[in-house]
Symmetry: C2
Subunit: 299 residues, 2 copies
């Protein structure tokens, strides 16, 4: 069996059996971040020609984005980013100025969010690689994981969907909004039951919440706000939006809306029993069962 | 200017100015690990055709080694490894069995040392990449950094040098000893003033200690124990040995030798004033000034 047949999520399932389970590991593989004590940790890697093309993406944008996606994971759990570890792989022929631009992009976001670049590694590599491990902190009482959604909860999402897919995923960070402020408000409000970022697509995000929370869901496709030019399919499965997808008991909806003020917020579905699985109510009023979808590596 | 002209150490100098310096960052870029509170963090990345060739290295050995080099960094600061985050980049055509073998290698060492694999990332990539971020814990009173060497201290080293260079750096982990027990003894003894692992070569290791401690050093080349088949140059500059290089005041030498019992231990040099720089006393009794040497990426 090749990786391309198994897929990224198959591989994660395969390797997530860890040899030692320490008592201080509150959350291991299977959420946006690991939780060790009150420390959140996440890691994301970008590889040339897989995630970006140097013809289309500036080194500055690449740096900014590589930190951004990690911040999004910390945010999705209600945490605040603190320390980053940056690994760069690059060919020897790369201009030093380009690498400096890449760090400028990382530093621009790091400065804004008071993140300390505390270490990393530099290696030679035939393709450009940027790998960041980001630490964050969270108060246990404000932690939001993928587990916690309950039957009857509504599924809410910030922002719009399908834009990156409609734009062919060409990486240009200026298009993205970081939902750090919103995630902090949601986490501190204690009105939500679960949260995830939508990096792998809206449907995949709901599937992950359902898997961790042991529930089913119905997604209202007509209620999913589409970015300009995006098809329904792109909005449902496109991914790379870095919006927040979270579940809220019906009685808390108006309160959370008030707290989030002007943030674009949509009710995109509801949590139902596990036995009903995850479905999408399409625009013709029919329910389609979904298994997967969204961006998946190797496939 | 190209990366190949600047070199790895030049690049590290260039990027180590961090945009935010947080109060909880006790040590940032410039040691084997970063220190945040009592948390040690290190990250190391292996790239196909830069660090290993799949024709020569088994997936199991590659996995074991990729964790090993990170453990060595934690050990060099007197810490104990706790949690690992494993990022794998691989082409879609890779056999799933090969990736499982890689994880088996990682898990073999993780199980032995009670390290929890708490997260990671999997991405598609044209070349195989294994990147591990490892957390560890250390008691502040036992912490050993590269800074702390004092004039008159002796430079000690465990084991032998030059073997990996003599064997053309072909990665086969069974040749390596992990110095975790020894580093713990050295750190807890409080008899040493600084420590580093020799991954970048003995001379480079001494240079790093001198840079951080603001001192000079004289290395006795005739006292450096050579692995079978290794030249003096390979022993001095070869690297990839993962031995401990540490400094000890002369009056503590016999005590530390007793504590380390049967571990092969050699006095390979002495710390002198910074103005004298770092020199190697060669086998003809002459002192050669050294600037750099050891393995360096991009060059």
């Amino acid at each position: 069996v090749k990786l391309s047949q198994l897929g990224e999520f198959g591989l994660i399932e395969l390797v997530k059996k860890t040899p030692a389970k320490r008592k201080d590991t509150s959350l291991g593989i299977g959420d946006d971040c690991a939780l060790i004590g009150d420390l959140l940790i996440t890691t994301d890697t970008l590889v040339e020609n897989t995630h970006f093309r140097l013809k289309k993406t500036s080194f500055f944008d690449l740096g900014y984005y590589s930190l951004f996606i990690n911040v999004s994971d910390i945010a999705a759990m209600g945490g605040e980013p603190t320390h980053a570890f940056v690994t760069i792989g690059a060919p020897g022929k790369t201009n030093v100025k380009s690498i400096q631009q890449l760090y400028k992009g990382i530093n621009a976001l790091a400065r804004k969010l008071k993140i300390d670049i505390a270490g990393g590694d530099t290696v030679s590599s035939s393709k450009l690689i940027v790998s960041i491990t980001l630490l964050g902190k969270v108060e246990k009482k404000h932690l939001l994981t993928r587990a916690g959604a309950r039957i009857g909860d509504m599924i809410l999402a910030t922002g719009e969907f399908g834009g990156p897919a409609a734009r062919n995923y060409e990486l240009g960070i200026t298009n993205y909004e970081l939902r750090l402020k919103e995630s902090g408000i949601i986490a501190k409000s204690k009105l939500a039951t679960s949260m995830i970022d939508s990096s792998d697509g809206l449907v995949r995000s709901v599937l992950e919440i359902c898997k961790s929370s042991k529930v089913g869901a119905l997604i209202y496709s007509s209620e999913v706000p589409r970015s300009k030019g995006a098809t329904v399919k792109q909005a449902l499965h496109g991914g790379e939006e870095y919006e927040l997808v979270f579940t809220v008991p019906a009685k808390n909806i108006s309160k959370i809306k008030r707290k989030l003020g002007k943030t674009k917020l949509s009710i995109v579905g509801e949590i139902r029993t596990r036995s009903k699985g995850v479905g999408v109510l399409n625009e013709r009023g029919r329910i389609e069962a979904v298994k997967a979808g969204g961006f998946e590596h190797f496939k």
